[in-house]
Symmetry: C2
């Protein structure tokens, strides 16, 4: 399992609308092959910054998702809120605490 960590900065003032839009498209991830979970977080210190964490079985599943109509739907619904391209990294978990 790998996590996609995406830093998403949205237009200040559009946070509520962005969150509502994400709520509408969660099903796209649910239906994606190899996607096992998604969470959206909002930064306390930078209120127009979001951190999306998506769990994928493999990085390949995420790569394949980017070539599907579902990804186009995702970008069509939420892309307008982005002030810059999301910064994306993939993370391997290396230690589990308590």
């Amino acid at each position: 399992m790998v996590r996609e960590l995406a830093q998403i900065d949205v237009d200040p003032g559009t946070a509520d609308t962005f969150e509502a839009a994400v709520g509408k498209v969660v099903a796209l991830f649910d239906a994606a092959e190899g996607c096992t979970g998604v969470r959206l977080h909002r930064s306390v210190e930078v209120p127009n910054r979001y951190w999306l964490i998506v769990q994928w079985s493999t990085i390949g599943h995420h790569t394949e998702f980017r070539n599907t109509p579902a990804f186009e739907d995702w970008r069509a619904l939420v892309g307008e809120f982005f002030v810059s391209s999301p910064v994306v990294e993939h993370l391997d978990q290396v230690a589990l605490g308590f």
Copy 2:
């Protein structure tokens, strides 16, 4: 509940030693008031970058932790690996997927 997200860049070549050091200090978080979980992740794209995610009951608990001897112990054990000060934000979860 709030999550602390810390981007930690370590000296290239010291990753294994850093991970072992973190393993030794997980108990510091376990014992900290208001800390309910900790996970360490390693970036796939930037192999000397780690993302530490710590769950706190409130931001105040994290602030208080920074004033304890346990925080000094944490920094004493792992700080030598940092190539720069960790970049820390606190995150509120705004949407839960599946």
